[in-house]
Symmetry: C2
Subunit: 207 residues, 2 copies
DNA sequence: GCAAATACGAGACGCAGCGGTTCGTAAAAA
DNA sequence: TTTTTACGAACCGCTGCGTCTCGTATTTGC
């Protein structure tokens, strides 16, 4: 994600400095907030020159993105649990657990905020995080389609609902998660339902 | 929202300057992006002293929040359309239309981003925007409960899904809205469910 | 072993924007 | 008419950005 270099001669990149930068960035964001995160602060805390940060990362948000990947296990289990219902439940459980790790929610909020203001970083954030999560859920859905127990809803909508609810609560409300939330969301997306008014399809703006 | 003053004597607040500031702020954000929005730039464009901005608003985000309320009709229709299904459809239609107004989506993304980084502003953003929208939807849901056609899902979850999907698409994907999105979301939330596995209520962590 | 190449920590630079202050002036109420 | 408040304009010190330049350390190619 950060290695466009393939040096042939000369001193090698210091892995120690790299890790010190990532750790300092993650901890500073967690403890002081993203607003207080500065490149100079990162360098000072990591015992590193500013240029060493600028040499390897385009913005401090990119440092935080990599720090997040390093500090927290972002892997979501895609193990087959027999049914889409169980797979989805585990996916949600993993996601909530990740958000419960100190600093992770803070980092994610900061990254999403930065993505709103820096469109270049937004692309990298999508590729480096958002799209990967979406791909993981898509894998569960494809397996469900094969199995025949996929929800009667477009995959895209399922993903929008899952990630929409999670992100909205993180960004806008900050309500903590409970087991009830998990069950409710799982049940909403794994129930067979019948449309009470099949005639009201597209275009009926009014009653 | 911005009037903590109740002046008794002396020159009155200039309504012309106030509007010039709001217009400049909205247009600068729409055309140049929130990153390029500075208090000095607002003042220059509005033909106003910097202090006139600082006197009435705590941060530039608060100016933008008020500008949004001034420039776009934020009112969501809560007119009774006979069924929750129709009410929800209209709510979504209004929301999509609002997001289609040039500059509005940009402003909302900027405000949400700022709220992630400034917790004081986050409170004001919630009170001044997020909570109002949620209250409007809650009104539709209460009416549906009275009528008996509310969805078989907790009101809070309905709100999380509606706003979650909308915000997630605005913040994370930026996919445009189509009629199909509206129908899909409406149908997801206004269908009768049958849970395929009623025994798996709370607590069944595994299959 | 030596030279070229590259990364390192440290610190300097000019720049932009912040948030606050001080002008002299304009308007509105007592 | 005096007092009070808001106004546009300009200035201040400060912080952080992003770049650049040191002298030094480390690694590969010759």
């Amino acid at each position: 994600m950060t290695e466009p270099h393939a040096p042939r001669r000369g001193r090698k990149r210091s892995e120690q400095s790299r890790l010190a930068i990532l750790t300092a960035t993650f901890e500073l964001t967690r403890d002081e907030g993203y607003r207080a995160l500065t490149v100079e602060g990162i360098a000072a805390r990591a015992g590193v020159g500013k240029q060493t940060v600028y040499r390897w990362w385009p913005t401090k948000a990119d440092v935080l993105l990599e720090a997040l990947a390093t500090k927290a296990e972002l892997h979501v289990s895609v193990a087959d649990r027999g049914s889409f219902r169980a797979d989805l439940e585990q996916f949600l459980r993993d996601s909530f657990a990740l958000l419960g790790v100190p600093g992770v929610a803070q980092a994610l909020r900061s990254l999403m905020a930065e993505a709103q203001v820096d469109s270049q970083f937004a692309s990298r954030f999508r590729e480096g995080f958002l799209d990967r999560r979406r791909a993981a859920l898509a894998e569960l859905l494809q397996r469900a389609r094969r199995r025949g127990d996929a929800p009667p809803v477009a995959d895209e909508l399922v993903a929008d609902v899952v990630f929409g609810v999670i992100w909205y609560r993180v960004l806008a409300t900050n309500r903590p998660w409970g087991e009830a939330d998990l069950v409710a969301l799982r049940d909403l997306l794994t129930s067979t339902f019948t449309n009470p008014d099949p005639s009201s399809r597209i275009g009926s703006t009014h009653v």
